[in-house]
């Protein structure tokens, strides 16, 4: 590639969406889990993927992170096709999965150093970055604790800190607050929004809880594998004519949704 081509490519990337999902469908056997799903996450934006359990959110997550192969449609991260250029796409991605993925036998610091190695970051630099992200997440004093001894809320916060370790440009969080109490949930949401604001990364936040949506967020409503509505939360409210997001969701999907946990 010549210098000109490289510069052109860099400019293209700067203009490109953080995440572009285009016409993605997915089947489990004969059952269609995703049906022609398309949406975009802009760089630096906070996008909520809203849907009930079973809507296809986790399947979409698995496709974006290349745990499953995309057989129909395309998924690009900053212009890099996840299927064809997985290395370039995945290195720009920070992920927090719904199930806990830390190694319970290792300490918080050891988990972070391991994650850094999986992104080609050496132990010294990894420890420096780990101390920094843990301090920002208020977890500095937990660095030497075994993950097994941490509460669910702390484990989740460590996972979020870990997702920032390799300095991603796009962060995916799959139902990151599931199973947490009200305070831990509020802490997690505040932590992510604060980090997003300071780091300027794009976020795709999947949830089935309406109260996790802010007015300034972009929202994609996924129902039974289909995108039924997308846009800024305020635009969706205006288009639906509903007084709040919960009413808008009911109107758009015909299904009830939780405001928050336990409601």
């Amino acid at each position: 590639m010549t210098l000109d081509e490289t510069v052109t490519r860099e400019k293209d990337v700067l203009r490109t969406a953080a995440l572009e999902v285009a016409g993605v469908s997915h089947f489990y056997g004969k059952r269609k889990a995703l049906d022609d799903v398309s949406f975009v996450v802009e760089p630096g934006s906070f996008t909520v993927l809203l849907g009930l359990n079973g809507a296809g959110k986790s399947t979409l997550f698995s496709l974006i992170t290349r745990l499953y192969a995309t057989r129909s449609g395309s998924i690009d991260i900053f212009g890099y096709d996840v299927g064809r250029q997985p290395g370039e796409a995945l290195r720009r991605l920070g992920v927090v999965f719904q199930p806990r993925t830390l190694d319970l036998e290792l300490t918080v610091m050891q988990n972070l150093v391991y994650h850094a190695a999986l992104h080609g970051i050496g132990p010294q630099e990894a420890k420096r970055r780990a101390r920094s992200v843990l301090a920002r997440a208020g977890l500095a004093e937990r660095a030497t604790e075994k993950v097994r001894n941490l509460s669910g809320g702390y484990v989740r916060r460590v996972e979020i800190a870990r997702a920032f370790l390799h300095r991603p440009e796009l962060l995916l969080l799959d139902e990151a607050t599931v199973g947490l109490d009200v305070k831990a949930r509020a802490d997690i949401i505040a932590q992510v929004r604060s980090l997003v604001a300071s780091e300027g990364v794009g976020v795709l936040w999947t949830t089935h809880l309406i109260d996790e949506i802010a007015k300034s967020d972009s929202v994609v409503i996924l129902h039974e594998g289909k995108v039924l509505e997308k846009g800024l939360a305020t635009e969706i409210l205006a288009r639906s004519g509903a007084p709040d997001m919960r009413a808008a969701f009911v109107k758009i999907t015909g299904a009830e949704i939780q405001e928050g946990p336990g409601q």
């Binding site: 490289t6 490519r9 860099e10 990337v13 489990y28 986790s58 399947t59 997550f61 698995s62 992170t65 290349r66 745990l67 499953y68 192969a69 299927g83 997985p86 290395g87 370039e88 796409a89 995945l90 290195r91 720009r92 991605l93 992920v95 999965f97 199930p99 806990r100 993925t101 830390l102 190694d103 319970l104 036998e105 290792l106 050891q110 150093v113 391991y114 994650h115 850094a116 190695a117 999986l118 992104h119 080609g120 970051i121 050496g122 132990p123 920002r136 390799h166 300095r167 440009e169 604060s194 300071s198 780091e199 300027g200």
Partner: protein, 284 residues
């Protein structure tokens, strides 16, 4: 809080050799840490072959001698004969233990951390395989240290060095087999089946415990089974290397099987073609 400057973002090209080395180092380091934290695993990995050596082999030593067969230059006692078999047994169990660890990682979700790394999937699986093999080799040398005080050692101290490549290769083969099995096992509970249908048949239908020419005389069909068993060649490769010799046929078989098993594992963990997509394994 310091924001990240554009220059801190990942560069726009692939990883260099140093980063590949860091990734390998990280995976080996994590495997070693896990192994050290699981003291039960460490102890049982040592006790198993030592029980065979101290009790089983000692009992048979009194009634059984092994005639002169390569690589041995003289008659050897039974405990000397089965030592390479026990070294390979450690690796067999370690390979299967690694597969158990992969099933566990998949069930707990930890496997995702590995699979969403930007390094090529084949490289990650090879690193994982190498990491498991390193742990197995460490176990074998610990066993050899104890066996030395029991009076078992190679003809020359160099044997401890020449056996190292053979241990690595056989460890890779057995780890590769374990990795393929891990992609086929849906749940941790199914691992008991691996014990019954893989580990025990492979170990007993091999040259680990008895020379195959003797088996041939008593039971030709069992001898054929042993010759078809890749574990037999791992045992013989280790046996010859321990006495500073190379059994080229065993080397070829073990190398070939390693390639086949590794390719199978890479295929099984490939999101486009592998088992995971059909079984919903990685993303469950």
């Amino acid at each position: 809080m310091t924001s990240i400057a554009a220059t801190d973002r990942p560069p726009r090209k692939g990883f260099g050799p140093a980063q590949y080395a860091i990734c390998l180092q990280g995976i080996v380091w994590r495997e070693a840490l896990r192994y050290l934290h699981q003291r039960g695993r460490f102890v049982s990995a040592l006790v198993r072959p030592l029980v065979w050596l101290f009790i089983f082999a000692s009992g048979f030593r009194a009634v059984l001698g092994i005639s002169i067969i390569p690589p041995y230059q003289t008659y050897v006692t039974y405990d000397v004969y089965i030592t390479p078999g026990l070294m390979a047994m450690i690796q067999l169990f370690n390979g299967m233990q690694s597969s158990l660890s992969m099933v566990y990682d998949r069930e707990t979700g930890n496997m995702r951390t590995l699979l969403v790394s930007p390094f090529p999937r084949w490289y990650l699986l090879t690193c994982k395989l190498l990491a498991g093999t390193c742990v197995g080799v460490l176990q074998v040398y610990t066993y050899l240290l104890i066996a030395y005080f029991w009076g078992i050692s190679p003809d020359s101290p160099w044997g401890y060095l020449t056996v190292l490549p053979a241990l690595f290769l056989s460890g890779l083969m057995l780890g590769g087999l374990g990795m393929v099995l891990s992609s086929l096992i849906r749940q941790l509970e199914n691992f008991a089946g691996v014990m019954n249908f893989v580990i025990f048949p492979m170990f007993f239908a091999s040259s680990a415990l008895y020379p195959l020419w003797q088996v041939q005389e008593k039971s030709p069909w069992l001898a054929t089974l042993c010759w078809l068993n890749p574990f037999t060649y791992a045992v013989e490769l280790v046996r010859f290397a321990f006495y500073m010799q190379i059994d080229y046929f065993s080397l070829a078989v073990v190398f070939g099987c390693t390639m086949v098993f590794l390719a199978g594992a890479i295929l099984a963990y490939d999101p486009a073609r592998g088992m995971l997509i059909r079984r919903g394994g990685a993303a469950e």
